[in-house]
Symmetry: C3
Subunit: 297 residues, 3 copies
């Protein structure tokens, strides 16, 4: 797991304080065993506390997995293919790994749930997830299915989510990612397509391009947010510990104040922990900034 | 703890899907210490998630224990004598350890509570459990008392549960079990008597007979289910890893469609995990089947 | 963490049973990491179950901390300066560490919260704590700030709590403690002042004097309880394992049946666990006694 804390600033935030201390504490409780045949079985609970959101650490639903010969299958509160895509979160900046210009507009799809299942039509305690991942050479192929309620008929407008993703890395230099989700987050017709590429132009510098296609924002019943492009890159200074990163992104919603968002960030590696900061402007022309520390354990 | 997952089928299940993926993830959080005098003190929390029942892993109430010279005493959310009886669950089949013909009709009594205490008259947060176990030679003697509410007067019809059990093993060949519970699950007059025996007719084959006596089903306020006999056995194939098991059971309730239930199951030991399946028919003449994997850690 | 169990007796307790089995099970879940520069980062969750109060173990909000060169800073669900004061709880007796004459009348201030944050005006999920501690030679200086709600305007009568404390130990013989809290527990004007001293008159005998000043009890909106003195001491027998301890205390509230409270206790060290008992009389002239065991792990 990890801990992170620091300050996040939102311009024109509706709350009283535009700057707040925001912390997260995440601990994974993992258990595993190996059979005589070399098959690994395991399971995970997660305890997560998000400052301002949670009044205490939250336990989530369990995940069970089995791995053998490069194939992993998960049951329960599983990962999903799109959320595990190699580049979909590559534009994120700073110690908080935030990207209002791209990660903020990828639409609505299921992911491993760090909180208890909810009580909405697409998030019941009867939710069933199945996820499979196969790794070979530099390629990873993933597929997932989330049934919002395996015990009852699904209500109108709710359907099973299917997701497929492929990642490929060539020679540690070129990364390619593609993912497709049908009925994202269980909303019928909420289909999402993602493709991304990143290239290491120098050993310490990378440039990437991401594209994501969600439905038009008129499909507001499931929070569709149009199409978005992002150009991004990062550069590591000669000290080997300071990493500068940035993105510019373009989204085509009619409701945008501006169609362009951008951000710049920096991370300083302490070895076991990192200090980070970012400055970004979103599609409402509001500026947001953060500064903090994140440590892994 | 352990994880298990697979598919359970119920004929004529009232739900939409007769077959569902059912998983459980159980992790015990144990802590212990030893004094200079050789007395061991310890404690346990459990986190358990049951698919379809729980929206997240559930923490339960704590158990504290002390052990010395073969005597163990527990305080808090304790085990109970009847639930710890050596043979009461010996008819169970497959990776899910289910037995609709016998474990399904043992009546209502307290056990170690894997979930939070409830809000009913016999399950308050003021519940107090005391359990003692003494092991000597091949014999185990256990006694338990559960007070549903130590802080207030108990309501009418609710009383403390007392339970006593004795297990005896002779020469690794013969197992004998007997248990008696008064006011099972805190319901006054809900008295339950159990006796069982199992004999190893060959090193790889065992045969057993169980009998349990609960009140007549007219005492529906505490779910009494009459008397039940079960004949059961298991046989390990020459590979040493495949175990075949079966039972036939007879229950005398007037409301039964049939007084006979039976089941057959198989387990295949992977070393650290096991695959299992079972096929059973219950007293409503409905067939249920399951197939899955269970791994310990 | 630790476990403890035993029996507590309250004279004239409003409940049905004056004597009850009271147990607590506390487990800390700690994680930490060290950077290349020798800075330590860490975090804690706690799971705690209090018999009769909790229907299951409770997870609390997270604490994140960083330590370097004697300076520790905590963020989130932090310690507070007054609650960490070296002598404020020094009058406590027995295995339950109870002191109705002094710890029972220290007033209302924030502490590390072992339970989830509540839903009252001074205990929201937006609570923010910051705590700093600096240790040098025999001195410890601590300061803390708790903002009951960093996201919204605080309601009338609610304000941030500030707390400052200093501990000093001289030659392992003399301990001095002082602490001051402003707006204790977030209640405006609920200011509390504490000072204490303890002196080892012999290697196995100590005598101490504590004084705490809270507002007059007329300020009932935040539970002020006047001024209290306590004289206390403890003596270890020649076996090195039996510790006798006692206190007498004087509180000046008009509503007291008596202004004097006192208690005597004993602890027997088992090495890893301890047996303890105490007998006390409070300001209502009620007697309370306890006997139990406590073990650390």
């Amino acid at each position: 797991g990890y801990g992170r804390t620091g300050v996040i600033y939102y311009e024109n935030d509706t709350g009283v304080n535009e700057s707040q201390v925001i912390s997260r504490l995440r601990m994974n409780i993992d258990a595993a065993t190996s059979t005589d045949q070399g098959v690994d079985f395991g399971a995970r609970f997660r305890i997560q506390w998000d400052q301002n959101s949670d009044d205490s650490g939250q336990l989530n639903a369990g995940k069970l997995w089995v791995t053998s010969n490069g194939l992993t299958v998960e049951i329960g509160n599983t990962e999903t293919a799109m959320d595990s895509s190699g580049l979909i979160y590559a534009t994120e900046l700073g110690s908080y790994d935030r990207s209002v210009g791209f990660s903020g507009v990828v639409g609505d799809f299921f992911a491993y749930d760090a909180d208890p299942y909810g009580n909405s039509a697409n998030d019941t305690s009867n939710r069933l997830g199945v996820f499979a991942k196969y790794e070979i050479a530099g390629a990873t192929v993933m597929g997932s299915m989330i049934d919002p309620d395996q015990a009852n008929d699904l209500p109108a407008g709710i359907d099973k989510e299917y997701s497929l993703a492929v990642d490929y890395t060539w020679n540690d230099v070129l990364e390619l990612s593609a993912a497709y989700t049908q009925n994202g987050a269980g909303f019928e017709d909420n289909d999402i397509f993602f493709v991304g590429a990143r290239y290491a132009v120098m050993p310490n510098a990378r440039v990437g391009l991401n594209y994501i296609d969600t439905n038009d924002e008129d499909d507001s019943e499931y929070g569709a947010v149009g199409q978005t492009f992002a150009l991004y890159g990062d550069y590591t200074l000669a000290d080997g510990m300071t990493n500068i990163e940035a993105y510019v992104a373009n989204n085509n919603r009619d409701s945008n104040e501006t169609d362009n968002a951008f951000g710049i960030g920096v991370n300083y590696d302490l070895g076991g922990a990192r200090l980070g900061a970012s400055l970004q402007r979103d599609y409402s022309e509001n500026v947001t900034a953060d500064m903090g520390v994140r440590f892994e354990f």
